[in-house]
């Protein structure tokens, strides 16, 4: 009773005090006492104050209050202003409301904020007037892009019809060029205000939340992510019905331009820090789990009246960035359990929120309450209202106790707030189900967080994320890998049914090819690319099922298959080394186009595309050693090319393609106890190319064909010489003259290709590829010169190419392919040095090559091109060492080569790889025999025999299965002889 009296007394005093207004002299006295008191230890203050103030209770009260606040550690030293404040600066403020925007007549302004202005508007129709909310996006955002995206999204958003979603009606551009959109006008109260005013029961709150879930769930099923869920985007009508605003708008406003799509930045602009998920804060791609997180924050707020984290520091201090402290808070700190927090707030004695929350710095101190000065918020919507609440409002305690939240509700909320998107509810449906289960008293699925869930894992992952420079790659995984990519695929299907092929086509190209190219050069990206390619193929397959009646789309699909085939198997580019997969893709293209050309025999474009498909599949089959089939497609290519040039509507490119068809035939000519067939075809091609070149000396692609044919023919002549030498060693025939002639002709051809490359470079100085032409052809010429006795000249050329490659790699240090090029240059240097009989320098060059290859294979252990080259170089180095009689050294490298071959055959059982393994075994076997002859150790011979035997068996097996070309006939014969010899030794 006494207490009550004194409280009442104080209140009265306070009032009187306020009315009387403090006088300056009083203030001086107050300051004096305050300054003295604050220096004192707390225990002696009370007495000092009583003595100093005497009967002046008002003064005492004033000073006590000041001391209380001075004790607070923080100070009022600096103001920070929410950016929003400036964004609605005068230019917007002073602008009068236009009468009309588009076909909408503006009635009044409802709200205004960082994103622009919201109006109530009317759409005047003959029959009725439709009341709408119209939002104009302010200048400064990327207007063109937004308008474009609106156009794209409009149909989808308009189709999003659900009782709990404010309907999207229209989008457009104002006369001033500002984008605007129109939504259903909703009469209602923002959720936070509603909760504050109505203070509903726990069950009522959860039921409201379920309505929100139902809306989000529906949108997710339509692959629309909200991205900016927050109480102010949720309106509650008087009848308790919930409406969500601004679905799909977040995406439109925050997506970067097309060029940046694969990039890392997600615009900070379109999220509200208080409700943003870790992935949003980190600027990663958002997905369905992002909305689930925001729903979690909303539920947290519904249950406790507070948010899990203090977002007021989100953008403080750091002009132009997110506050790193805030990032840490969102990404690392576990929120307090809702029950714990509510308990703290409800603790008797802590009648103000400030007190209740003292010491919990991770807890948001804002509340739902709003200033009375505020008018009801109607349709404020996305970005139009920042977290805007006022401090000095009395806290309204929820009408339920903390213990009611304990257990299930704690678990449910915390599950939705996990840092790792994967650890949250997998869908809104599951989230809602748990709440329904709670309401009906069934056990819920959410469990308390175990250590496994804790943030360390998330942080660890993200550290790696930041450390790895492959940001594009990461955003790819984050963005397409999971839900978004699935959503894309699903949307693709829907688009097809709507016959919106244009969009679909764009989607295909962008997703598949742009992203692939962006990540192709990065080490370690093979797995992701495989995934990407797999998805892309699925997608193309689905498309082709749906597009049968659309020839032009089928044609384009075929081209896409060709491109994806290139990605899968194209050599000399960052590729997946999946030649078999490439062949399959090419085959699909061939099938489609053969069909089309049959159906539309007069369409020359389909024939041309078919020709390209034949070309692609031929070279892919050649790489698979599928000679017979390769040849048949090469013949088809030739036939189709011939048909085209005879069709009467052929152009120069068609003629060039016809010339090239000889080259393709040459490529598909199997080694057949010599290279004669191929050489014959390449010669034919060279003659035709030269003929055409004389008529059209300027045509770029013709000159490329001419150059590459010269290089091919030169190289084949060298192979033929090598083959003849090897054969002559076996049967002791004398072919020296023949070999010499072949090498000399090869040199002339390489010289021609070098000259042609220089011409191309001169005439097309902007095309970087010709620099590479020069480097590549000069390596061939250099090696040929070294073979033909002009060693120094040859070395100089190779060295020049090497310099070029080193420089190119320096320009693009992350590109593993560029490093591979350097390794290859060293390999040719080794060939040239060996041809000059300078074995130590040849060995040296090979070792340099291996240094690089070992590094890049370590970085990208599944890149077959790298592995194969490393294997080849180990063998070459072993050969050289063997020639130097360094048998043990040779064995070391042969064995390393074998390890690589084994590694490859573990991943890929193709015959190509098994041949490599057999070659390694053969080489090791032979070296061991040489070693045995020197050391006479029985176990050496045993191992040698077993190696040779394995090689023999492997070759024979492959031969029997008809997988091997005739090229290995003599290999088998030789191995038989070797084994016999080894048997004879023992």
């Amino acid at each position: 009773m006494a207490l009550c009296q004194s409280l009442a007394e104080i209140k009265t005093l306070e009032l009187i005090y306020h009315f009387l207004q403090m006088k300056p002299e009083n203030w001086q006295k107050i300051k004096d006492i305050f300054n003295k008191a604050i220096e004192m230890p707390a225990e002696s203050r009370q007495e000092f104050l009583r003595n100093s103030c005497g009967e002046d209770r008002a003064m005492l009260l004033e000073i006590e209050k000041m001391l209380e606040h001075a004790a607070d550690d923080d100070t009022l030293s600096k103001f920070n202003f929410l950016g929003e404040f400036y964004q609605s600066q005068p230019d917007a403020v002073s602008e009068p409301m236009p009468d009309k925007i588009g076909k909408y007549k503006l009635v009044r302004e409802i709200g205004r904020g960082g994103m622009g202005v919201v109006y109530e508007a009317l759409r005047e129709e003959k029959e009725f007037n439709q009341r709408v909310a119209l939002k104009v996006i302010k200048r400064g955002m990327d207007t063109d892009q937004i308008v474009k995206r609106f156009r794209y999204e409009q149909k989808i958003l308009a189709g999003l019809i659900h009782t709990n979603i404010a309907r999207f009606i229209d989008g457009g551009v104002t006369n001033d060029g500002l984008p605007f959109y129109v939504m259903e006008y909703i009469e209602g109260t923002p959720l936070d205000k509603y909760i504050y005013e109505q203070n509903p029961s726990l069950t009522e709150r959860l039921k409201i939340f379920l309505q929100v879930c139902s809306a989000v769930q529906f949108a997710h099923r339509n692959f629309i992510i909200h991205r900016d869920l927050k109480p102010s985007n949720i309106l509650v009508a008087d009848d308790g019905a919930v409406k969500l605003l601004d679905f799909g708008i977040g995406k439109i406003l925050s997506e970067n331009t097309d060029e940046q799509e694969a990039g890392t930045a997600t615009s900070m602009g379109m999220m509200t820090p208080a409700y943003a998920s870790p992935e949003q804060i980190l600027g990663k791609r958002v997905n369905l789990a992002t909305d689930i997180y925001s729903l979690g924050v909303i539920l947290y707020e519904l249950l406790t009246g507070s948010r899990p984290f203090d977002s007021s520091i989100a953008s403080n201090q750091h002009l132009g960035g997110v506050n790193p402290d805030f990032v840490r808070l969102i990404c690392e700190t576990e929120p307090a359990k809702p029950s714990t927090l509510l308990k703290k707030i409800q603790k008797p004695g802590s009648d103000t929120k400030e007190n209740a929350l003292a010491g919990t710095d991770e807890v948001e101190t804002r509340k739902f309450g709003k200033s009375e000065a505020e008018s009801t918020c109607r349709q404020a919507g996305n970005g139009f209202n920042q977290a805007a609440t006022k401090t000095a409002r009395p806290l309204k305690l929820p009408p339920f106790s903390a213990s009611q939240l304990k257990g299930d509700l704690d678990n449910i909320v915390l599950k939705s707030l996990r840092k790792e998107p994967d650890n949250r509810y997998q869908s809104v449906e599951l989230f809602a189900q748990d709440i329904e289960k709670y309401l009906s008293g069934q056990p819920v699925s959410a469990r308390p967080a175990t250590l496994r869930y804790r943030t360390t894992k998330f942080i660890k992952r993200n550290k790696i994320a930041v450390a790895s420079a492959a940001l594009v790659f990461l955003s790819l995984i984050a963005g397409i890998g999971i839900a978004t990519w699935q959503a894309y695929l699903a949307r693709v299907e829907r688009e097809i049914s709507e016959r919106r092929f244009e969009d679909v086509r764009q989607l295909a190209n962008k997703i598949v090819f742009k992203y692939h190219d962006a990540i192709a050069a990065l080490p370690g990206s093979t797995e992701t690319r495989e995934m990407l390619v797999k998805d892309a193929i699925d997608y193309l397959d689905r498309l082709s099922q749906n597009a049968q009646d659309r020839p032009e789309l089928m044609d384009e699909l075929a081209l896409s298959y060709i491109r994806i085939g290139n990605v899968q198997g194209e050599t000399y580019r960052a590729n997946l080394g999946d030649t078999q997969g490439a062949t399959e893709s090419y085959r699909k293209a061939v099938d489609i186009l053969e069909n089309l050309t049959n159906k539309y025999p007069d369409n020359i474009q389909y024939k041309r595309d078919l020709r390209e498909a034949y070309r692609s599949i031929t070279s892919s089959l050649v790489r698979q050693d599928q000679w017979a089939e390769a040849k048949s497609f090469a013949e088809k290519h030739y036939e189709t090319s011939r048909l085209i040039i005879n069709s009467g509507s052929a152009n120069l490119q068609d003629e060039i393609s016809f010339v090239r068809s000889y080259q393709i035939l040459g490529d598909s000519a199997e080694f057949d106890g010599g290279h004669e067939e191929a050489i014959k075809l390449f010669r034919q091609c060279l003659i035709e190319a030269e003929k055409l070149y004389r008529q059209h000396p300027q045509d770029e692609s013709l000159r490329r064909v001419y150059t590459s044919t010269a290089q091919r023919l030169g190289t084949r002549l060298e192979y033929q010489a090598d083959y003849l030498r090897e054969k002559s060693e076996a049967d002791n025939s004398s072919v020296d003259e023949e070999i010499k002639d072949l090498y000399l002709e090869a040199e002339r051809l390489h010289k021609l290709s070098v000259d042609l490359s220089y011409d191309l470079k001169r005439d097309f100085p902007n095309n970087q590829v010709y620099e590479r032409y020069i480097a590549a052809t000069e390596i061939n010429l250099g090696t040929a010169l070294a073979r033909n006795g002009n060693g120094n000249e040859g070395i100089a050329l190779i060295q020049k190419s090497l310099d070029y490659m080193v420089n190119a790699s320096r320009q693009d240090p992350k590109n593993a392919e560029a490093k591979r090029d350097i390794a290859e240059c060293y390999q040719y240097l080794a060939y040239a040095r060996a041809a000059m009989n300078n074995f130590p320098l040849a060995i040296d060059a090979n070792k340099k090559s291996l240094e690089i290859l070992e590094k890049i294979t370590e970085e990208d252990p599944t890149n077959f091109e790298f592995l194969k080259q490393a294997h080849l170089t180990y063998n070459n180095l072993g050969d050289l060492l063997l020639k130097q009689n360094k048998i043990n050294d040779a064995l070391i490298y042969y064995r390393k080569g074998k390890t690589f071959a084994e590694k490859m055959s573990e991943i890929n059982r193709s015959q190509q790889i098994r041949v490599l393994l057999a070659l390694s075994q053969e080489k090791i076997g032979k070296a061991l025999i040489a070693l045995y002859l020197r050391q006479k150790k029985a176990e050496t011979l045993t191992e040698a025999k077993s190696m040779l035997q394995s090689a023999y068996e492997l070759f024979s097996e492959l031969h029997q299965n008809n997988q091997l070309g005739k090229i290995y006939h003599y290999k088998i014969r030789k191995l038989e002889a070797d084994l016999k010899m080894a048997g004879g030794i023992s």
Binding site: M22, H69, T75, F79, F81, R112, E374, S375, T391
Partner: protein, 186 residues
């Protein structure tokens, strides 16, 4: 008007010319507003703009630093703090007049000296009201608050502007702060 002219206006104002001061004030006001707006256009939303930074930038833009001494500089900030306050108040009033749905201009009272743990958004109009009250009680103390809040001056700078000792500034600031907070947060 070039920087030279503004600088000489500042000097004249400092030596007591009322006329120079009257000319100078709108210049500073406009400049501050302009900077605020241009920053707002180049930045995305949700970014905090600091009045302190704005005031400093306006100083660099308007005043030829070679021509002024520290007293001139201090005087400039004295003026700028007042202008900054006016800008904020005008804006807040305008917004209130619009009967906007969501809140008022929010300011975070945040600490520069210690890493403050609580961030309480405060209404700029409320601050202004309290400052006015304080002006009636103690003009100098109110000025200290204004210089600290709206121009971000350090204790030493305030001491030199007002020609008082640093310990006085500290003491006055401490009590003003405690008083403001007791009013704002109760």
């Amino acid at each position: 008007m070039g920087r030279q002219d503004v600088t000489s206006l500042l000097k004249k104002a400092q030596s007591g010319s009322r006329e120079a001061l009257d000319l100078l004030m709108p210049l500073v006001y406009q400049e501050l507003r302009q900077i605020a707006q241009s920053q707002m256009q180049s930045e995305r939303m949700n970014h905090t703009l600091q009045p302190t930074a704005l005031v400093h930038e306006s100083y660099i833009r308007l005043i030829d630093q070679k021509e002024v001494d520290w007293q001139n500089r201090a005087h400039f900030f004295y003026i700028a703090a007042e202008m900054m306050r006016r800008i904020l108040i005008n804006h807040a009033n305008k917004r209130n007049a619009q009967k906007r749905g969501e809140g008022q201009t929010l300011i975070n009272l945040d600490d520069v000296d210690s890493n403050a743990k609580s961030y309480n958004p405060v209404d700029v109009l409320e601050i202004d009201q309290l400052l006015k009250e304080l002006e009636n009680l103690d003009q100098q103390q109110a000025k200290i608050v204004e210089l600290r809040f709206f121009a971000g001056l350090t204790v030493a700078e305030i001491a030199s502007v007002l020609e008082v000792s640093e310990s006085t500034v500290k003491r006055e600031w401490r009590s003003a702060k405690a008083w403001l907070k007791s009013k704002l947060l109760s």
